[in-house]
Symmetry: C2
Subunit: 356 residues, 2 copies
């Protein structure tokens, strides 16, 4: 008999495992939850990626509703598979949980995981639970498929540097959470923190970007199928860091225009209100989960059209050129090398980790 | 410039990622380490499993040499894939690491991971590193292949309950580590703890069983290919717990004979020396990583022969019957229901977690 207040330590590991297994819908995979491994019928090539959310590093328990956290734990890996032009099929969920955690928290986490999985037709096919001596750790492995994987290394000299979506909102969301702003589990605003109600719309935009990101999965897959990009990856560590990585992998330099950056209007408004600067958040803030692409200028029109079909904002922000792998920024003061300043958890207490 | 004393916090996440990527040999997969996901050329059905080692729960840093820990992190998942009759092909390694950890520790961990991967022809194709606020977490996802997956649910009434290897040594190993016994990174004895040198051989057996388990991978695959078992799983949580799970999944009861249990002679000797009892360790101690099988009595001879070829001890310890899913133990005092007493981390501070 479990109640809202049941804690994992009262329940025990076996009961918890069965409880979770009982919540996961049966799927059409060959062998699903409950055996030593899942057996999957895949077409080749298969894509596999793992990504982890660690309490106190990637999220704060009090500030991240468990249901949204479940959604995000899946989303960050969905973004990886999509950025390679793939479609996600199956997920394996590894949880490390402290014994004093309420079962209701785990249920809410799974509400989000299962809801997000259903949205993208991904089946949860296995996983495990282990005790954690402290922090909650959520590790999701995603298995997908891709006809023709889109790599980080394919950029060519003269290609446009293209990004989808807006920049900076997820990083602004971290700052807002630190200032006491909160969302309910359903994604509505529950507290404005130090902000007034007039900022509600901008707050919701940034908090949702941080707590419940929506990468352009369908566009990513579609553009890869049509061969509309030479290279691609998702924007997870921040533009400066991710673009430096694409330069490094493609052995090219890149030059971007500050004026062309699609800074989130919500971030611009919030930063303006407090006399801050939105540009660093757009350049170095992470977790935007848009796409970073290297695109032949001759194909950019077709790509813009496709993005329009999927309702995704898209823009060219610069170009790749033959040269040392580095990112150059052109602004009012001229052109200069852009230092890589994406969050680095091992060095500081930034808001997110490096993701493959 | 890194030295033995370099800590992850000095190095930073990007440098650490590149350092690790630089150590992983290039493989023949379609897309390996360094992109958003790995792209793998698999035949179907594919097996996927994830397993996690958490510091303070599954291991103690001072007592587990990092190289052996790397071996074990891979081995526990190799055991899962093998127990389903599969062959392991690719691994993805997710690490959560505290910033004050020395780089040399990570290097030793990878020594073990890469060495073990090479032994079994598994390629490491991706992963990620994240900061941990406290405990080290090592999560390995393994992708394999199986012609005909061997499930937990296939046992039939009249089948023999069969186990491979010896029981209790890994659990005894935990007790020995708590008493100060230690192995070097090369698997040799470095400290006997409270024991005398005369116990060295038994100590090494039990410590190695705990720190560097060797599941019968080739036998598992081979017996599944030949259809010599109706059901199979690995012995990770302890015989009483794992057999109860097979009963539950196969909707059968099982009766086992105390006298038939292949108790590890090393455990028997050590327990005798201190006036303890080896039986509970054999019944409820976990992490033996032998196989638990349901075998048609008519095929047991052929299975014994096959086990002989691979040099693996094998024995029938009881039988399955139509009845409530539960395990009955027959000993000198008659037959009684065996309570499930495998370690449960959420309830107590046992030595290992529940593994799928």
């Amino acid at each position: 008999m479990t109640t809202q207040e049941t804690r994992l330590g009262d329940l025990g590991e076996r009961e918890l495992t069965r409880h979770i297994q009982g919540r996961i819908p049966a799927t059409e995979v060959l062998v699903g939850v409950g055996d030593d491994a899942a057996a999957l019928d895949l077409t080749s090539p298969a894509l596999v990626t793992a990504d982890v959310l660690v309490e106190g590093v990637h999220f704060v328990r009090e500030a991240a509703p468990a249901r949204l956290l479940g959604r995000k734990a899946l989303t960050v890996s969905l973004s990886d598979v999509a950025a390679m032009g793939g479609v996600s099929r199956h997920a394996i969920v590894s949880l490390c949980l402290p014994p004093d955690l309420e079962l209701s928290w785990v249920d809410s986490l799974y509400d989000g995981l299962l809801e997000r999985a259903a949205e993208v037709e991904v089946s949860i096919v296995g996983g495990n639970v282990a005790r954690s001596p402290g922090a909650i750790v959520i590790d999701v492995t995603l298995v997908g498929e891709a006809e023709q994987p889109l790599l980080r290394s394919g950029a060519r000299p003269g290609d446009l540097v293209v990004v989808t979506g807006e920049l900076g909102a997820a990083a602004e969301g971290v700052a807002l959470l630190e200032q006491g702003a909160r969302l309910f589990e359903d994604g509505q605003l529950s507290a404005t923190g130090v902000w007034t109600e007039s900022s509600a719309e901008a707050l919701v935009t940034c908090l949702r970007a941080q707590l419940d990101p929506r990468p352009p999965l369908a566009l990513a897959r579609s553009l890869a199928e049509r061969g509309l990009a030479h290279a691609g990856m998702d924007l997870s560590d921040g533009l400066s860091s991710d673009l430096a990585e694409m330069c490094h992998r493609s052995r090219l330099g890149a030059r971007i225009e500050a004026a062309a950056l699609p800074i989130s209007p919500a971030v611009a408004a919030l930063e303006r209100a407090r006399g801050g600067d939105a540009l660093p958040l757009a350049l170095h803030g992470g977790e935007d989960y848009g796409l970073l692409l290297a695109v032949d200028p001759a194909q950019f029109g077709e790509l813009q059209e496709l993005a329009g079909v999927w309702g995704v904002a898209i823009g060219g922000i610069g170009e790749f050129f033959e040269g040392e792998p580095a990112v150059h920024l052109r602004d009012d003061e001229g052109e200069h090398l852009l230092p890589v300043q994406g969050h680095d958890h091992f060095r500081a207490d930034g808001s997110q980790g490096r993701r493959e």
